[in-house]
Symmetry: C2
Subunit: 350 residues, 2 copies
């Protein structure tokens, strides 16, 4: 291992901590190290080995996708979304990123003793509305209550089952040199919306989370026969961490231009004040698509027909080199290597 790659890959070696840190749940380098060290080897199988947003398998002649996420966002409500819409959108999106049509969701609630029913009603109404918008049914569930002080108001887990109706292989391993990289819209709004609410910050313009189900544009791309190699939604760790994951899994070089990445004025301002980088902020309604170069313009046209990806843009290209690295050309034209999020600037963002 060269000194350079060592310094990029091991900024916070896992073995410096014998206990779980907030950063182990942050979606960045520590979480990946944790998964590689503890989880993936223990449950070793082909599906986990793909390191995708969900598992894909066949049951009889049905090709299915299956995924899960727990939601521990704090606070429960914030501009543009809440834990309920997030819990539905997030799992719908993980299914969509597998190229699946989302069909059925489970909903499991862990509630703290003393949670007002009025809060729960708002959350459930939000889940219902989001499920209807996404065309999925919540068909099974679970309820647990823990004593006061043993959880933080409400945690929700959703798992989802979807069906894959095409024959393309979609995932980091299918990315090819020359692929165009498309981004569905502006980045960073979810992270800023949650943080501003939590910290009681007020900005000149209210920043709303981008939280939304993404299956529509994804399925439209597949139905149009676009040669898609990989989809990935930009959640914890943001655009930068997502791209690094894909570069490392595919062992290819990802090149993007900062000027192509849309960032709303309010988000940019908040980031400047708070010292955050919008490329690392969480999103809950944004995805990247890696598509064959010849299909890039056509794909953008399709994405722009759907409200959730109306601002879709091409942000870069895949190349052979530098292998496993993401290179960003910044606004001044200089290039730098992006790494995953190393610490945990914004815990409990989803």
């Amino acid at each position: 291992m060269s000194v350079k790659s060592f310094s990029l890959n091991c900024p916070l070696p896992l073995n410096t901590s014998a206990v779980v840190l907030l950063a182990h749940g942050g979606g960045g380098r520590l979480m990946h190290q944790f998964l590689e060290q503890y989880v993936i080897p223990a449950f070793q199988n082909d599906q986990l080995a793909t390191r995708h947003d969900g598992a894909v398998f066949d049951v009889k002649n049905a090709r299915l996708a299956f995924t899960t996420d727990s939601y521990v966002v704090s606070p429960l409500f914030f501009p543009g979304a809440d834990i309920g819409s997030l819990a539905v959108s997030g799992t719908v999106n993980d299914l969509a990123m597998c190229g699946a049509r989302p069909l059925f969701l489970s909903a499991a609630f862990i509630m703290e003793e003393g949670l007002p029913f009025e809060t729960l009603e708002r959350v459930i109404a939000s889940m219902r509305a989001t499920a209807e918008a996404a065309g999925v049914h919540i068909v099974t569930g679970d309820t647990k209550v823990v004593d006061r002080g043993k959880c933080d108001k409400l945690f929700i887990n959703t798992a989802g089952v979807g069906v894959i109706e095409h024959t393309q292989t979609i995932g980091p391993s299918a990315v090819r040199s020359g692929d165009a990289i498309l981004l569905s819209g502006d980045v960073g709004r979810h992270g800023v919306a949650v943080m501003a609410t939590r910290e009681g910050l007020e900005f000149a313009t209210a920043i709303e989370s981008d939280c939304a189900p993404l299956a529509e544009p994804v399925l439209a791309l597949l139905e149009a026969g676009i040669e898609v190699h990989c989809f990935r939604d930009l959640t914890r760790g943001g655009l930068a961490t997502t791209l690094v994951e894909i570069a490392e899994s595919s062992k290819l070089g990802i090149h993007i231009a900062e000027r192509s990445v849309p960032v709303e004025e309010g988000v940019r301002g908040a980031c400047e004040i708070l010292g955050l980088d919008p490329l690392y902020l969480a999103n809950e309604g944004r995805f990247v698509g890696f598509v064959a170069e010849r299909d890039a313009e056509n794909a953008l046209d399709i994405m722009r027909k759907h409200a959730v990806s109306a601002q879709a843009k091409r942000i870069g290209t895949v190349a052979e080199a530098p292998a496993s690295l993401v290179t960003l050309e910044n606004l001044l034209g200089t290039k730098r290597i992006l790494d995953m999020e190393r610490g945990e600037p914004l815990p409990r963002i989803c």
Copy 2:
């Protein structure tokens, strides 16, 4: 509504509390009222309406079962099992109770900052061993970390997908008058094992949880062509609550004899000391099967061939009347009506 059924069904009306109580997660009457009032109407669909342990649906020509449970048991480790084996067994069992062959599980961890990795390793090793024993693969997952004091060490959610390979309809609605009611083994061990560990109680003989995957005897019954009408595992609320659920869903009368229900000596002793009723204690490796009378003996023979149901016994019979009620003939030969658990004697039992 007659006075009698009113008094049985509304011991603790939900509207006396504007906030969530521990009993809302206890598997008993309050939890059912909560589900009927808030959850089932909001997400209205055929699968939820069956009120079974999981949802059953078709994708292409595959008939699938899908279920989820969160595990918040305290403490994490106790005689005979731990949160890991529980999280795998519980979800495997919910699939089996749908008459499905369990195939794939998800595993989502919510960890408290500061959780020792050594604890997590033990739990993951236990999940792996139980998954291997049950023949299921853990194929997708999620990791969240919350700040210290915002959860209690570790919560795990598992969801599961199974395939239904027979054509029988299995669920409370399929129960018929005249059905034989079979119980797979002794009851109450899980509840006593967890509580004794939590409270630091020591009994003359260590009582181990019955936690175990149950798919083997269930699938063997189906493969042998036994006419099964309903399976249900006995978790929160115990045998009594499970039977009341089925009586109310099927609108039939369930008659059982207390002398037929096996209770280990140590469990009986602990219950006497602590004022608990073994019929209401949680189990994690026990189920009841409702089968056609003519198949009852054959079904017991099949169940007894599997270690987990080696002590299977017939405990009662279904009749037309008294509709929606469970009648217990106690050891003295007198009869009484069983209701669901009303409060929450043992919170966080699973």
